[in-house]
């Protein structure tokens, strides 16, 4: 551990020295905050070589900062205007004067109580109390999801699959359009057959299941291609920060 701390100290010192030296020549960015960002970026990238104190430092910092970030966001954007200001408006006079004169809505005590119950999860004596709030969260999520998934992802998708397999344009058959629609209809059917495990995949059912696998393989191949595209984009973004904002090699 001591060795880790020495490494960290040396690294920060080296970066600090570079920053000071740069002040004399002003070759690259002189913004201290940009340097902090660059240091943290390089600290994370250092994991590519192997696990090291810089990466561990950055990783732990990330965990702490992001937890506090979400807490603050939730507090100021939802808790204050949508809970505290509803139950007792005058209390937010100093922070949200625009809504401090509104009449109180005492119904909001219910989510306040449920929220405090949820925090009881941290209590060593009565963590079971948090189940009431958890039950509310689970009940809401399931209630919302059931109907919406049924409508959009089940009925909606079936509706979108019921399309003509013979496509006519200006009265004449279009082979490309018809072929595509046949692939869509058969692809969905065969894909579903592959996921149907209550019947043995033999005979015609087995053939359909096989076609389903091929369709799914194309789907996964496309997803893989898009995943690569996404990850490269993120790397390009970071490199543009390092080479542009920090080193100022590019505009």
């Amino acid at each position: 551990m001591r060795k880790d701390l020495v490494w960290l100290f040396v690294g920060v010192l080296f970066f600090g020295l570079l920053y000071i030296l740069n002040w004399g020549v002003k070759v690259i960015s002189t913004d201290l905050l940009v340097w902090v960002g660059a240091f943290l970026t390089l600290a994370i990238l250092s994991f590519l070589y192997q696990d090291n104190p810089f990466y561990k430092f950055a990783e732990h910092l990330f965990v702490g900062v992001s937890a506090a970030y979400w807490m603050c966001m939730g507090f100021w954007n939802t808790l204050v205007p949508n809970l505290i200001a509803k139950i007792h408006p005058p209390i937010v006079k100093g922070v949200l004067p625009a809504i401090a004169e509104k009449p109180p809505e005492y119904w909001y005590i219910i989510p306040a109580i449920l929220g405090i119950m949820l925090l009881m999860r941290l209590s060593p004596k009565a963590p079971w109390i948090s189940r009431w709030a958890l039950a509310f969260i689970v009940g809401t999520t399931t209630g919302l999801n059931l109907v919406r998934y049924l409508r959009s992802d089940f009925v909606g998708q079936i509706k979108s699959t019921l399309i003509p397999v013979i496509v006519l344009q200006d009265g004449s058959l279009t082979i490309g359009g018809s072929f595509s629609n046949i692939v869509v209809v058969l692809g969905v059917l065969c894909g579903l057959i592959y996921f149907f495990f209550s019947k043995e995949h033999k005979g015609m059912f087995g053939v359909a299941s096989r076609v389903g696998i091929y369709i799914l393989m194309i789907t996964f191949g496309a997803s893989f291609g898009y995943t690569v595209m996404a990850r490269i984009s993120l790397l390009v973004g970071r490199m543009r920060f390092l080479l542009g904002d920090w080193l100022q090699f590019v505009q």
Binding site: L48, Y49, Y69, W70, M73, G74, N77, T78, P81, N82, A85, V95, L96, P97, A98, I99, K102, T140, T141, L144, N145, R148, Y149, R151, S152, D153, G156, Q157, K159, S160, T219, A222, S223, Y226, T227, V228, M229, A230, I232, S233, L234, L235, V236, G237, R238, M239, R240, L243, G244, F249, V250, Q251
Partner: protein, 293 residues
Amino acid sequence: MSFFETIANIDRRVIFLFIGFAVIIPVLLSFSCTEEASPIVQAIFDKIESLPEGSKVLMSFDYGPSTVPEIQPMIDALLRHCCEKNLRIYMMALWGTGHNLISESMVDIIEHEFPHKVYGVDYVNLGYKAGNQGLINVILTDMKKMYTTDAVGTEIDAVPMMVDIRNLKSFDVILSLGGGFPGVKEWVLFGGDPGNVPVAGGATAVSAPLLYPYYPRQLLGLLGGIKGAAEYESALIKGYPKFKTHSHPGIDMMGPQTVAHIVIVIFIVIGNITFFVARRKEGDERGERGILK
């Protein structure tokens, strides 16, 4: 060790180096490419183009720093297009990080490039609210139940452009720019479908293939990853040549993107060649030992 064995057992850090250079060199050389809008992207452009002046566009910033390189170019292009068309822009976020990104986009695009636009009349920042799909479910029937103020603390009814807004159905189109959950899918399921409001999406390349089943019946168009952003930027430049001089990070990023794709394809090909050589060799050895007999 044979050449193929050496290649097959190459240290992963060598591959990392290649990928690093494949990105760094084109960035340094500012290598970029031209793009052409595909139908799924053009559909969004055409929709924005067809909206009459003063139409209400709800833009949801459902992403964070992890996906900024992919989504931000879409946001910039869409904001420019909406401002140019004199549409009213309502910005909100299902992700906390989206709140910061709204502020940044407001400064960088609207205030900087369209200084004549007035806050509260032409655009408004509604900020972040917690609740994911729960939030969409609330604003589906009553927008002001959750949005009692805008992001800077002005009472919601004191914002001129919010006066005639009741719920999601008050908007002409919803633009969800998302990096995952909650994102475009949740807007389709909980907002667009039940509210019968057209939804257009911009998504990371990871989630874009998952959204194709909604197009075109439930999703009027989709910008998929940096490619989608570059295509929209191209469509915008084609429609409004004055934007050619503005920043277009999507088009700029397609250069390094192309080189990195080619490098990865080459790696996969080399990997497969070594695999087949090894398999053949293994087969020969087995044959010699009589295993295959």
